[in-house]
């Protein structure tokens, strides 16, 4: 979802609207530290393929640094492992860290990833941004 704020994406308007509403309401936003690595990897890929200029990537990173998001540095790895196995996503456990954090904070996961939302709907409070 964070990526949809800084890249032209079909969910961009909706993501801006949601985040702006949450900030106005005083809702706290959280993400695993892993999100930062995934965002940087995505921007590196866009830069490497020349689909993103250096200045645009720098501005995107500055925007992300200013987002009022708390990045969690203390995942419960054992629980994340369980969640990954429950989701049968043991080869790609990244999603499990987002879900573990949400579970620990008793929070809702908002995602633009339909696969995650479909796979997880019955287990966690996951909402697909459409």
């Amino acid at each position: 979802m964070i990526l949809a704020l800084v890249l032209e994406e079909r969910h961009t308007e909706k993501a801006i609207s949601l985040v702006t509403r949450w900030i106005a309401e005083g809702t706290k936003l959280h993400a695993p530290l892993l999100a930062q690595y995934e965002i940087v990897n995505a921007l590196v890929k866009k830069r490497a393929s020349a689909e993103l200029e250096a200045a645009e990537a720098d501005t995107a990173l500055a925007a992300i640094e200013n987002l009022v998001v708390s990045y969690d540095e203390t995942p419960n790895m054992a629980r994340a492992t369980e969640i990954a196995l429950e989701m049968q996503r043991h080869k790609k456990s990244n999603d499990a860290f987002y879900l573990e954090l949400a579970e620990r904070l008793d929070a809702r996961v908002w995602t633009v990833d339909q696969g995650l939302a479909n796979n997880d709907a019955s287990r966690h409070r996951t909402t697909l941004i459409e």
């Binding site: 979802m1 990526l3 949809a4 704020l5 800084v6 890249l7 032209e8 994406e9 079909r10 969910h11 961009t12 801006i16 985040v19 702006t20 900030i23 106005a24 005083g26 995934e38 990897n41 995505a42 590196v44 890929k45 866009k46 689909e51 993103l52 200029e53 200045a55 645009e56 990537a57 501005t59 995107a60 500055a62 925007a63 992300i64 200013n66 987002l67 009022v68 080869k91 790609k92 990244n94 995602t111 633009v112 990833d113 339909q114 696969g115 995650l116």
Partner: protein, 74 residues
């Protein structure tokens, strides 16, 4: 050695950037609602500026899946 002494000892080898980041982290305090809204406005202005030059519409979820796949193949 106290924590303060350890920080003072270790920081001699830090770069200015490392020191700035450590200071920022150490001084981190919950933002007031007004500061949250102000910082959010800055973030959205920067995000709009980053998007302004982009002509291609991306699929963020697919992009993340691609980079995860690439990391896995390394």
């Amino acid at each position: 050695m106290t924590a303060k002494e350890k920080v003072a000892k270790d920081m001699r080898d830090w770069s200015e950037e490392q020191a700035e980041r450590a200071l920022k982290a150490a001084q981190h305090r919950p933002l007031s609602q007004a500061d949250r809204e102000r910082q959010h406005r800055v973030a959205m202005e920067l995000a709009a500026s980053a998007r302004a030059g982009q002509t291609e519409v991306v699929d963020a979820a697919a992009l993340i899946r691609e980079v995860r796949d690439e990391m896995e193949q390394r």
